[in-house]
Symmetry: C2
Subunit: 138 residues, 2 copies
DNA sequence: ATCTTGACTTAGACACAGTCCAATGTAGGA
DNA sequence: TCCTACATTGGACTGTGTCTAAGTCAAGAT
């Protein structure tokens, strides 16, 4: 993920300890943390980091297109660092676990012209819900 | 929508003025109000109705399967009385307007077995995003 | 028609997620 | 090294939703 930092510096991002730490926390492929979880983990690496900075940084990463914002439950938004491969989400209705998944087919094409009401479509988000093997077993 | 009230009474729902008013506000096909919008409209019909009652009633309608909870933006949840026809949502990224839409094809089938990670799938929610004709024009 | 009772409603306090602000600190160019 | 525009901080604030204890009432029983 240090290439991320490089990319951002190239775009004029000022590189601070706080931002580095937030990027580091988001590193890894299958994390979907809430802002407060990011803050908690960032605090372990840099005790004085403030909540506001974490929110600011996440917001910047989202508008720079480096991180996706996912809200699957109407509660806290989650942040998904896997922004460079199109994917959708599979959520366990019991425990809330999220997995990245890759449906087949062209999802946008599933919406017929007469159902588009003159909108210019840009994206589609799909959330599959079900019960994960763990919760099924229990 | 008075058949809704009948249905609910049949299920042992106690019929109060407050509940009647909430059901009345949700009547109509293409409304997607937030809880506070429902409360505002309910207050016009029954001035003393409290916020807590609106939240309670909406929650009950949702668990009874009469109303759908939709959260498209990570802000306030919206309540969709059109719960008896499967449908998805088309959201304007500018103004937030929501339309019910009906994609073609079997959405669940788009997720290949090897992408299901052992989950027992139950539902799929699709949100199409784009810009509505109104906002396009402006 | 009235009584009774458990379910419903209420106001307000509380909790959680997120935003805003003025004061302070600092990265990185000159 | 200095400067300054940008970043960070903590705490107050907002919006959305939940909880509670006390009061009220729908509807079945009498």
């Amino acid at each position: 993920m240090s290439d991320l930092l490089e990319r951002l510096r190239g775009r004029g991002w000022r590189l601070t300890a706080q931002r580095r730490v937030v990027a580091e926390v988001l590193d890894g492929d299958h994390v979907h943390y809430t802002a407060d979880e990011v803050h908690a983990k960032a605090t372990e690496l840099l005790p004085e980091i403030s909540r506001a900075t974490v929110y600011n940084t996440l917001g910047e990463l989202v508008s720079l297109g480096e991180v996706l914002e996912v809200s699957t439950d109407g509660r806290a938004k989650r942040y998904d660092p896997n922004a460079h491969h199109a994917h959708q989400h599979l959520v366990c209705s019991r425990c809330g676990t999220i997995r990245d998944v890759h449906p087949s087919g062209d999802l946008l094409a599933d919406l017929p012209t007469e159902e588009r009401y003159g909108f210019r479509l840009s994206t589609v988000e799909v959330t599959y819900r079900g019960v994960c093997p763990n919760c099924s077993a229990a």
